[in-house]
Symmetry: C2
Subunit: 491 residues, 2 copies
């Protein structure tokens, strides 16, 4: 046995998710062959086959929805001249600490200007928009890029959650009015619900982020948080109202119906597909391994003939027969390897294959198969004549079932707090705190620093659409509260 593999025991995830999330997550990535952290540049990982296939499917779904909503794709260079960054002051300030710089090339040595590996594409794309946008007839101008970005993260990295290179979609839109731009922000939030909640089965909640936590250069940022349980949240797609903050320095103007030249109103939107994938593993995975939404599984049905010497050929033929029933509609595979049935079950559970079909000698005799659903272990004995209907039914309901099963109820996670000590206790007990806050404008940042220091939590912002909770005073400074915010620990 080669050494490298034996370092982690081959069978079973050895840590319970509830006991030690980090260790559990690392084991699942390794044992299900999802990511490899041994690549020799710090903060960069390899996405293995199983992850790459699912991430491609996630991209396809998100792109389809964006296109349905009128976005067209573009391909942008990944290098951005340093001078582009300097056009928007907050943007350069926000991103400079995170930029990888290309400074040399080929044998000729130093470049005349440093080139950034894009940490986000505003300053590349918005340089081009004046070439393409001239008249109100060109608006709305809705475009998206599917690409990777690079950020020199100084925080601890974790595959898919936070890395120095990650894979996302960024949409960049221009409108004639602020109202239309704000409508786009709403559409972006709806798309996030449709994708994350409906397709990927991850429930999210949108918050308007405090000013000190907004996208550098934005007027306002609306970001989704996934409740990961135990009061922790993980930021997911965010959409940013840019107003005219970029259109002015980048000179993105249009001649309006009234003949006047005006600056456009902009929005940008960034679902980080690789990060959503990480949330999906973390959210749905269990102590046996991955659980995947049906559509996203690289293999959806695994057929395992329980091979006995005397019946081997008949069993394999039956497996092929079943394979042929489904091969045109699902991703299906026969595992006819030499491994024991038990280790096959274990392996495909680890990988999160939604449906297992077992065929043993007794089943053969009785014209039946055994079906096992990965997400809840439910076992069904199904007569051959009902097999197609049954599989179709399971396939159709599978994602909905994991969605409902694993739903973390937002309200049950919340504790309303009126004093800092109570809030500290609530956070330590794995709760999300709802409380009054003096301000999510610049003024409130001091109180937010106290929250971070004393509670180990972050101000997630004002819940979008929230109306029911009201507090008289700020949890931290005791001044009159201007809003209700939520405090939570985060990944």
């Amino acid at each position: 046995m080669p050494k490298k593999r034996t370092e982690i025991p081959l069978t079973g995830i050895t840590v319970k998710k509830e006991d030690d999330f980090s260790a559990w997550y690392t084991e699942i990535l390794t044992k299900a062959e999802i990511a490899d952290i041994r690549y020799n540049v710090k903060g960069f990982v390899v996405y293995r086959e199983w992850a790459t296939i699912t991430i491609k499917k996630m991209y396809a779904k998100y792109e389809e929805l964006l296109e349905k909503n009128g976005h067209l794709p573009l391909t942008m260079p990944s290098l951005i001249p340093e001078s582009n960054f300097h056009l928007e002051a907050q943007h350069v300030e926000g991103f400079t600490p995170e930029v990888f710089w290309v400074t040399e090339a080929g044998s000729s040595g130093k470049l005349s200007e440093r080139l950034a590996l894009r940490p986000t594409s505003e300053t590349a794309l918005y340089k081009m928009y004046p070439f393409w946008i001239h008249s109100y007839k060109d608006l709305p101008f809705k475009r998206y890029l599917s690409c990777q970005v690079w950020r020199y993260e100084t925080k601890m990295t974790r595959p898919f959650f936070r890395g120095r290179e990650f894979h996302w979609i960024e949409a960049h839109n221009v409108y004639a009015t602020m109202e239309e731009a704000m409508d786009q922000v709403k559409e972006d939030m709806e798309m996030a619900y449709e994708m994350l909640q409906e397709e990927f089965a991850i429930p999210i909640i949108f918050f308007e982020r405090p000013q000190w936590d907004k996208f550098p250069g934005a007027v306002a940022t609306f970001a989704a948080d996934v409740l990961m349980g135990s009061g922790k949240v993980m930021q997911q797609p965010s959409t940013h109202l840019l107003g005219q903050n970029f259109s002015k320095p980048f000179n993105i103007k249009f001649v309006d119906k009234d003949g006047e030249e005006k600056y456009g109103y902009q929005t940008c939107y960034g679902p980080a597909i690789s990060r959503i994938y990480g949330a999906m593993i973390a959210y749905h995975g269990d102590d046996k391994g991955l659980v995947l939404p049906f559509d996203l599984a690289p293999i959806q049905i695994i057929i395992i003939p329980i091979l006995f010497k005397s019946k081997e050929e008949a069993l394999l033929n039956k497996a092929k027969e079943v394979f042929n029933l489904f091969k045109n509609h699902y991703k299906v595979k026969i595992d006819d390897s030499d491994d024991s049935p038990g280790s096959k079950f274990y392996n495909w559970e680890l990988k999160g294959v939604p449906i297992r079909i077992e065929i043993g000698p007794k089943d053969l005799q009785k014209h039946q198969v055994v079906i096992v659903k990965r997400h809840n272990g439910e076992k069904l004995v199904v007569k051959e004549e009902n097999l197609i209907n049954k599989i179709n039914e399971i396939a159709e309901n599978y994602t909905n079932e994991i969605k409902h099963k694993s739903l973390i109820d937002f309200e049950s996670q919340i504790e309303e707090c009126y004093e800092k000590d109570a809030a500290i206790e609530a956070i330590n007990n794995g709760k999300i705190v709802a409380c009054g806050f003096c301000s999510i404008d610049k003024d409130g940042e001091k109180c937010a620093e106290v929250v971070e220091k004393d509670l180990g939590a972050f101000v997630r912002g004002k819940r979008v659409g929230e109306e029911k909770r009201e507090f008289a005073t700020c949890l931290i400074c005791g001044e009159p509260a201007s809003c209700t915010v939520y405090l939570a620990r985060s990944y």
Copy 2:
């Protein structure tokens, strides 16, 4: 002849492809909104919406074929430590002049080691292979990446043909024997024929490249050339037999059936999708604009109601009716803008939309439509009851028709030459020269330099599968010929 972009008249391509290919190509890219060369980093261009959509379709087709042939996808980091490059001597020598280097990051300044923007992924990926390959059971190991690469080109760049960032697929395989590796090279060539000739309608010919022109680190390189007409060729997918040149320094070993540890035999393969896209524009495009294979067109059918005031509503309704007939099977669009019918025809011809359906008042009366095929301008009047069948028929045959129409016959391009002067004349007359050559090993490089200097042509190599042509002596040095080679000018 217009000097600057803004001076190019808005309507019509002003240059004939035959008269000035470069000017024609630049105009088509600009007017059909395919690429934008105004991005402010030299050698980098924006792929616009129309190009991005087609390139995505090309990726999907190539990936599907690779997966059908047993390749699985991976996602690799795009930064490679400089030390990785130094493991294979020819490789580092070959690529160092072309590498962009990341040397700084964030506020912390200089990195401890320079990181290359991948010019190709061998030295990233092969560092990982020993972690994943242990036994003969892990072989064949067939993987591919869909990604972009960066090369600091010093030659003149041209969008899609040659740029400092381009988009490709690279496949990297490991086998137990040299024979199996060589079979993979053959499969790679077959895939290139299937994709380029069958799907993208671009005829290719494979040559074994001379040793001085092989991939740095390879044992042998087999590369496809597209005949672009007038004796010029353009290199397309190439596949490389690496033997054990990388497996030894990168320590890619497996325990064979006999219990012995052996080094793997490798191949790599690089279809550059963005470059194939460029070839497709150049090869099929005509003086009216783009011609696209049917499957690859972002819009496949454009419906143009010839609007007359009195009949406006009836015509629009008919257009919608026709749209509904096809919307589930094809990418179809109604152009009901205010432009004149003529300018609509012109615009969609420029964009290469394969089928135009015109509906005028007279057609309405006669229950018919007019169909025009983009690639040959053929006009058909079709009764409504036959419309579905007719469109399906055109859609099915369209790509085949452009394939046959535009076929440049290899043999008709060839001139067999026995003396340098005759070869110079043949090249100047737009021919490809077949001739005897002393050697495509290192020894022949001096003669190849003469070919480059005196003929302005390149030794493309030995034609794969060639048997019929034999020459006694080398065209250049007059020594006995070891093989027949082809000389051609190239893009």
